[in-house]
């Protein structure tokens, strides 16, 4: 018999946002409790109240500086839904260009800067080397291809959105700025190098997955529900319906944004300021769902673009559908990067992308409620606003990407904790030699 023990990891590192872990081990050495403590909140839902509706897309992006574009766009979609406005087609294309560019740069920063150090230096390397600065030092070629992908995405957003972080050009009724032909030509010129870096990334990701296949297929494999946006069954990050898949792989719901309250449950945990979102018809905790890359790849029948679809098929051959492999999130991230890259090329080649018809001249506020739904890199994102007849925001409900994952993260942490502390499963894992030895 040993004493009860509490392990605290504070803060959780190499992610975006604030969190700690609290793990309790009983006297018998069994894992009694695992908590993922998200330890800050800023009350956006409250201080959006009382603002003019059109200011919401300029305030809400500050929820997340890594994924401000999805917030900017979910917000403007919610306002347009409340006021019953349809923006011009070219404006929608510019918005899609922005969100695909964000998907590209965010997935690149996640894969290369946050996740890769574990795989490059091995999970047991010293903190002084297990980080992106060391990737730059030891693998400069890999780092340069990563930086160039991030640069492509971020700078393209700046062209369309005025700022790469917290963009300002989407407004109820369209976009405040069209794309010039010079800018379009400049970006088209950069596409071949970007695609080349995407191909290199895919090759690297496949190597990582193959090298770490024992980890991918054995650690923290956690069956849950999944939610993701799909457009007639095809993976989409800007428009479509929300699809829910149960742990057996059956699609159990496919609904419009406006109907979300029937399907979204929100549980207030006692130990996290970020709430737990779940599939309401199944109840909590049975209905815990996960969002983000793997969830989208699980719920979608196929990808929207050819190379991405081929990559999805290859992934499914390895991990199946649904995949409950927490580590397969990285693989799915790469599949989605390919789709984002292909979408960007298609949009830039579309003559309408330089149309000057990007904003309605006549926009009138009205009383009503609107829901805006898009995919952020880390999962489905929902803004729900109520407007009064003067166009002032009277009520906001925000269900952001990570909230959809908090309960799922905790569930997979419990699986992993049992594997490590009870079964010592990590000792028998086959790990490759680190790519770089330090």
């Amino acid at each position: 018999m040993t004493e009860e023990k509490t392990i605290r990891v504070d803060p959780v590192t190499r992610l975006e946002g604030h969190g700690s872990l609290t793990l309790k081990l009983g006297t018998d050495g069994k894992v009694k409790d695992v908590q993922f403590n998200v330890n800050s909140t800023r009350f956006f839902e409250k201080f959006l109240e009382g603002r003019p509706m059109e200011e919401a897309p300029r305030i809400a992006p500050r929820i997340c500086g890594i994924c401000p574009i999805p917030h900017h766009l979910a917000s403007v979609k919610a306002v347009e839904a409340a006021w019953d406005i349809t923006p011009p087609r070219a404006a929608v294309k510019l918005r899609r260009l922005m969100i695909e560019a964000k998907q590209l740069s965010s997935h690149a920063i996640h894969f290369y800067a946050l996740a890769a150090p574990d795989f490059v230096f091995g999970p047991f390397a010293d903190p002084s080397v297990r980080n992106v600065a060391a990737v730059l030092k030891y693998l400069p070629d890999v780092a340069v291809q990563a930086i160039k992908l991030m640069e492509f995405g971020q700078e393209l957003i700046k062209t369309v959105g005025a700022k790469a972080i917290h963009p300002t050009t989407a407004i109820p009724g369209g976009q405040l700025c069209s794309m010039s032909e010079e800018d379009r030509d400049l970006w088209l010129g950069k596409v071949p190098e970007m695609l080349e870096n995407i191909h290199k990334t895919v090759d690297l990701a496949k190597k990582v997955v193959t090298d770490y296949i024992d980890v991918v297929t054995k650690v923290a494999v956690t069956p849950t529900y999944y939610i993701g946006l799909a457009n007639k069954g095809v993976l989409d990050i800007y428009e479509g319906t929300a699809r829910v898949m149960d742990p057996d792989g059956k699609i159990v719901a496919d609904f419009e944004a406006k109907d979300y309250r029937k399907y979204y449950g929100e549980h207030i945990p006692k130990h996290s300021y970020a709430t737990h979102i779940y599939y309401k018809p199944a109840g909590y905790p049975e209905g815990i769902w996960r969002a983000n890359t793997l969830a989208r790849c699980n719920v979608a029948d196929k990808m929207a673009t050819p190379l991405a679809d081929a990559a999805l098929k290859e992934m499914r051959e390895l991990v199946g559908r649904p995949s409950h492999h927490t580590f397969a999130y990285h693989y799915a991230r790469i599949v989605e990067m390919v789709q984002a890259a292909e979408w960007i090329k298609t949009l830039l080649e579309d003559p309408e992308i330089v149309s000057k018809d990007v904003k309605l001249a006549d926009v009138e506020p009205k009383a009503g409620e609107g829901v805006g739904l898009v995919e952020a890199p880390r999962g489905i994102l929902l803004h729900n606003y109520t407007s009064d007849e003067k166009g002032m925001l009277t009520k906001a409900n925000l269900i952001v990407a990570t909230n959809n994952n908090i309960a799922g993260i905790e569930k997979s942490l419990m699986v992993a904790a049992k594997q490590v502390f009870e079964e010592k499963a990590h000792e028998s894992l086959k790990l490759p030699d680190p790519l770089v030895k330090t």
């Binding site: 990891v9 959780v12 590192t13 190499r14 992610l15 975006e16 946002g17 700690s20 609290t22 908590q35 403590n37 330890n39 800050s40 909140t41 409250k46 201080f47 009382g50 603002r51 200011e55 305030i59 500050r62 929820i63 500086g65 890594i66 401000p68 920063i109 800067a113 903190p127 002084s128 297990r130 980080n131 992106v132 600065a133 730059l136 930086i147 160039k148 991030m150 640069e151 700022k163 790469a164 972080i165 917290h166 009724g173 405040l176 700025c177 309250r261 449950g265 929100e266 207030i268 006692k270 130990h271 996290s272 300021y273 709430t275 979102i277 001249a361 166009g391 002032m392 906001a396 409900n397």
Partner: protein, 299 residues
């Protein structure tokens, strides 16, 4: 680098110096940076005082942990930088000071479209202060780098100067200095909301009636929004001296451009607090009064 309650956009802006990362990152010995390296809080706490040359603090500090981290950073760093507008002025999260914290809890945990009857979480969590107080009310900073976020160019300039041991000298101009639009010095006849009509791309947005606070805002952004058709909302705060009252200046500016009867301005400017004080309510004179009121109320 320490991160309080923030969106991590300042961090992203630092990453967006792109290939310059190859020069900057290897020149740093990282001691604590939760987004990048696996050092924990106890590592940071264990370093000798003033043993770190430069620290950046992103975000505002409202939780007990945020405030603790801010104070630890101050103790360990020789030069501490308020990194971004949240850290300098409270930023957009400072707008939460418009409401009592219980009203904030109501919407977040107790009653909303998908929430009913929840309780405020408290287990293994830091407490949240009743009001957002500016970071400089807890510690002193040597340098303020405002912006929401500070541009990558500004960050690169600052970091390069620090690495070279040289002072950071920044141009004092407002946003108008960088705006390509023409001013004709004509008064505003009617105030417009930003979605109304189609703006003339070549004329000053404010003179067309769209409220733009660029003339009262530090132009370290180099006019990125106004040159793409979006009005300035003041995210870099006031030009030096940096703690002057940005909101009051912005309102004064509107008064000069819009010689309208006060009743008309009152009717047409829908949300003066949320517009003129968007990024710096917590450090404004009005905001200071509110902070005192909330503190007394929750004593």
């Amino acid at each position: 680098m320490g991160q309080g309650s923030s969106c991590w956009g300042c961090f992203q802006s630092l990453v967006d110096i792109h290939l310059h990362l190859a020069e900057v990152l290897p020149a740093l010995e990282i001691k604590y940076w939760q987004a990048v390296a696996d050092y924990k809080l106890h590592h940071l706490e264990s370093y000798p005082d003033k043993s770190i040359a430069v620290g950046l603090y992103e975000g505002m500090a409202r939780t007990e942990e945020d405030i603790h981290l801010l104070k630890v950073m101050r103790a360990k760093c020789q030069t501490l930088i308020a990194f971004g507008s949240c850290s300098c002025f409270g930023g957009i999260p400072g707008l939460a000071n418009f409401s009592d914290i219980e009203e904030c809890y109501d919407v977040k945990f107790r009653e909303n479209a998908t929430v009913s009857g929840g309780q405020v979480p408290s287990e293994n969590l830091p407490g949240i202060a009743p009001v957002v107080k500016p970071n400089n009310s807890f510690v002193d900073f040597e340098i303020y780098l405002p912006g929401c976020p500070p541009t990558s160019k500004l960050i690169l300039t600052a970091v390069s100067k620090l690495l070279a041991g040289e002072p950071i000298e920044l141009p004092p101009h407002t946003v108008c200095h960088y705006c390509n639009r023409e001013k004709k010095e004509t008064p505003i006849e009617k105030i417009l909301r930003p979605y109304q009509g189609i703006a003339d791309p070549d004329r000053c947005l404010l003179e067309q009636g769209y409220i733009c606070v660029g003339s009262a805002t530090w132009g370290l952004c180099e006019g990125q929004c106004v040159n793409k058709g979006a009005t300035c909302r003041g995210c870099f705060g006031p030009p030096p001296p940096i703690m002057q009252d940005h909101g009051a200046n912005s309102m004064g500016m509107l008064g000069t451009y819009a010689p309208l009867p006060p009743e008309e301005i009152k009717e047409q400017v829908k949300d003066p607090l949320g517009l003129f004080y968007r990024f710096d309510y917590a450090t404004s004179n009005l905001g200071e009064i509110r902070i005192k009121r909330e503190e007394v109320k929750h004593q």
